[in-house]
Amino acid sequence: MSALLEITNVTKTFPGVVANESISVSVSAGEIVALLGENGAGKSTLVKSVFGMVRPDSGEIRIKGELIAPGDTGGAIARGVGMVHQHFQLVPVMTVTENIILGDEPKRGIFINIKAARAEVIALSEKYGLEVDPDALVEDLPVGTQQRIEILKALRKDVDLLILDEPTAVLTPQETDELLQVMKNLAASGVGVLFITHKLREVMAVADRVVVLRNGRVAGSTSPKETDEEGLAQLMVGRNVVLQVEKGEAKPAAPTLEIKALSVNDDRKHLAVDALDLEVRAGEIVGVAGVEGNGQRELVEAICGMRPRLSGEVLVAGAPTPDMHPHGVHAMGVSHIPEDREKHGLVSSYSIEDNLVLNQFDRAPFAQGWIRNVATLEENATRLVEEFDIRTPSIKTTAGALSGGNKQKVVVARELSQDTRVVVAAQPTRGVDVGSIEFIHNQLIAARDGGAAVLLVSAELDEILSLADRVAVMFGGKIVSILDAKEAERGLVGRLMAGLSA
């Protein structure tokens, strides 16, 4: 049987980086191929080449034996390729229907037939069991729903090959399971699926074949039958990776972060955090487990002064922190690794050097009075890039040019390199590859052992279970239970997260 997609010897260089070096990959009809690799390994570049979003320097891409011209997105679509992009390609101010029909609009005369379009969207949504409201504005929808729209967009033209670029990065575990099921159904109906992910568990669950990229080259090809998660991780990183976090016994001291009867509203002015009490002691990691949307985000933002507190207080080492004053909270020794690094963690257009001092550029040693101390800034950046293994051509490179994992390392480096009493880490490893995850975890443990109180909020239950010394389960804006790491067993925590009693 001839392959549905044949990528032969594709090479692509960007200024200063070889993204793909003579890569060959093929996908057959009805097959699910996982493309695995660290951040910056060249996975996205490769699939973008297939979809005509990137022009390869050399090499061939054939779909059903037909050669695809470089950069011909329209041609790829016409040959039955659909792609779900890592960064959603949706127009926020338009409706779901408008977004889905864009590029091939049903017409009546010269006008768009919006009725037919709506009907088509509804039919499409029913066919694949992906529920969407055709008339909702995309900007009003949560990310999970936006992802569904992206998938529907890709599936609209009876695709033969579906490419998904990190589709599960922003999904909740339930949404991920749904998506994996959709992928399986599609493959069963004869569609070839090529998907990129960092999550080894997903690969093990659905892939027929795994192609691992490392530094722009194919590092190996295997299948879930022949290997396990450890094996995949090793192939990806090129060395042994310890998936299980190794840490010593916590030596908790006095409470450093105290949250007392804190109540906070969400964006829609509904109560999201409800008179919550929580204590984190110096030298311990408290993990907040919970299904996303149970007030974790609001809790973190209120602690860090980014969201108004309705009532209650947050104490650091006994002193109350100011409300709605992030800089003031930070000055009291609170480091914050924000959930959304692009929005709250970095200024994409600033250099790495500047991003590394975003919350302390105005004080010694980085500034003397009004003047920035250039030598110290450079020295600081050079040291942190080295220490935190940030892979970048230079400290002057803009943060926006880095891959996701390296962006996160910049944030982590900035927040953990300071003298901190409290670390608030929200989803610290979201969208980050296994090598970097291991590194960030070790840094958090090092901060704990250095005497900081660490509050870890994560949607990944495994992350909580492996890092936390105590697990606080959050449900409906309250901490419903606090468990010692030893008694926090997966099933129990899962039940508590769902709001059931233990």
């Binding site: 679509i77 960064h87 127009v91 101010v93 338009m94 590029g103 006008f111």
Partner: protein, 327 residues
């Protein structure tokens, strides 16, 4: 949004009531004032369409003023040389298109900063026309066409159906643009490109081509507005006689929320204030020095922008280059 909507309707109602009241007092003058409002407002409305077409696809066009000046110049002197108003209008439209293509070339192909590209067009137009200008020429102007039957309707006949040809063409154009922008595939794609070019690109729509097309067509519309100024409204050309209409149009575009109908309404309101002050001056009801009266449109621009600033949301990708390839 709701608040502003009711404000809009209230204002319309008020204007209708006032017009009705004055019409009952003095029908001749009222009809003439409202008709003049359209005559003064049309070039602003057309110029605002240039801005809307460009900005809706993500290109900031600050060179509208230059487009108006240059195309009015070319139109006037072509009409003068050929002794034909028709050739004059055609030449103006071609000149406008050329300025649009130049802007597209600088801001899309060369990826130049769009504000600088537009400024270049303004400077180029001022310099070139001043250099080539020769005094003492006259040109045939377009003549008024009374639409049979419709022009006999009291009030509305004079206001809407007793104008030069470019007024009719312009008004139709604005309505066509409105419908095209919101009800055709071209409009949907254009708006998508202006909001989030990646969404169009990944749907197989060429961001590059669509931006080129729209900026060029917008140039042609600007050319028509220029022709209107020199060949229909004023009947002559003078250095810098566009007097900031291209910039005022940008303010109207913002006030009209990048919507052709909104910008048309805003332009008509501007035309009306100008028509009313002219009438007041002419009939010697108020005696204010000319200079102050001539300031009025500019002061209104500032006021309008101050009122609407912050409440409006421009197309998200406005002024940004689209880079297809990213690592």
């Amino acid at each position: 949004m709701k608040k502003l909507l009711s404000f809009k309707w209230l204002l319309t109602l008020l204007l209708v009531a006032i017009t009705g009241y004055f019409y009952s007092k003095d029908g001749v003058i009222t009809s003439s004032v409202v008709s003049t409002a359209l005559i003064f407002g049309l070039p602003l409305a057309l110029a605002a369409m240039v801005g809307i077409m460009c900005e809706r696809t993500g290109i900031v066009n600050i060179g509208i003023e230059g487009t108006l000046l240059f195309s009015a110049f070319v139109g006037f002197f072509t009409a003068s040389a050929t002794d034909s108003d028709f050739y004059g209008v055609v030449a103006a439209v071609i000149a406008g298109t050329a300025s649009g293509v130049l802007l597209a070339f600088m801001s899309i192909s060369w990826k130049m900063d769009q504000i600088i590209a537009g400024t270049i067009i303004n400077i180029l137009a001022t310099g070139l026309t001043s250099f080539l200008y020769k005094q003492g020429h006259t040109a045939p102007t377009t003549s008024q066409i009374d639409i049979p039957w419709l022009s006999q309707i009291p009030f509305f006949g004079q206001v809407l159906f007793m104008h030069g040809p470019i007024v009719y063409i312009g008004l139709v154009l604005i309505f066509v643009l409105y419908i095209a922008l919101f009800h055709t595939a071209w409009g949907l794609r254009s708006r998508a490109v202006g909001e989030h070019p990646g969404s169009a690109d990944t749907a197989g729509v060429s961001v590059f081509k669509l931006r080129y097309l729209n900026v060029s067509i917008a140039g042609a519309v600007g050319g028509l507005a220029g022709a209107y100024l020199s060949l229909e409204l004023v009947g002559s050309w003078d250095r810098g006689f566009t007097a900031g209409k291209g910039f005022t149009a940008l303010a109207l575009m913002i006030f009209g929320r990048w919507n052709p109908m909104g910008a048309l309404a805003a332009a008509m309101f501007f035309g009306l204030t100008q028509a009313i002050t002219n009438q007041l001056m002419f009939s010697q009801i108020v005696k204010i020095p000319d200079q102050f009266v001539n300031m009025l449109p500019y002061i209104l621009t500032i006021v309008v922008l101050a009122i609407s600033a912050g409440k409006v949301r421009p197309p998200a990708a406005e002024g940004q280059q689209y880079e297809k390839e990213q690592a």
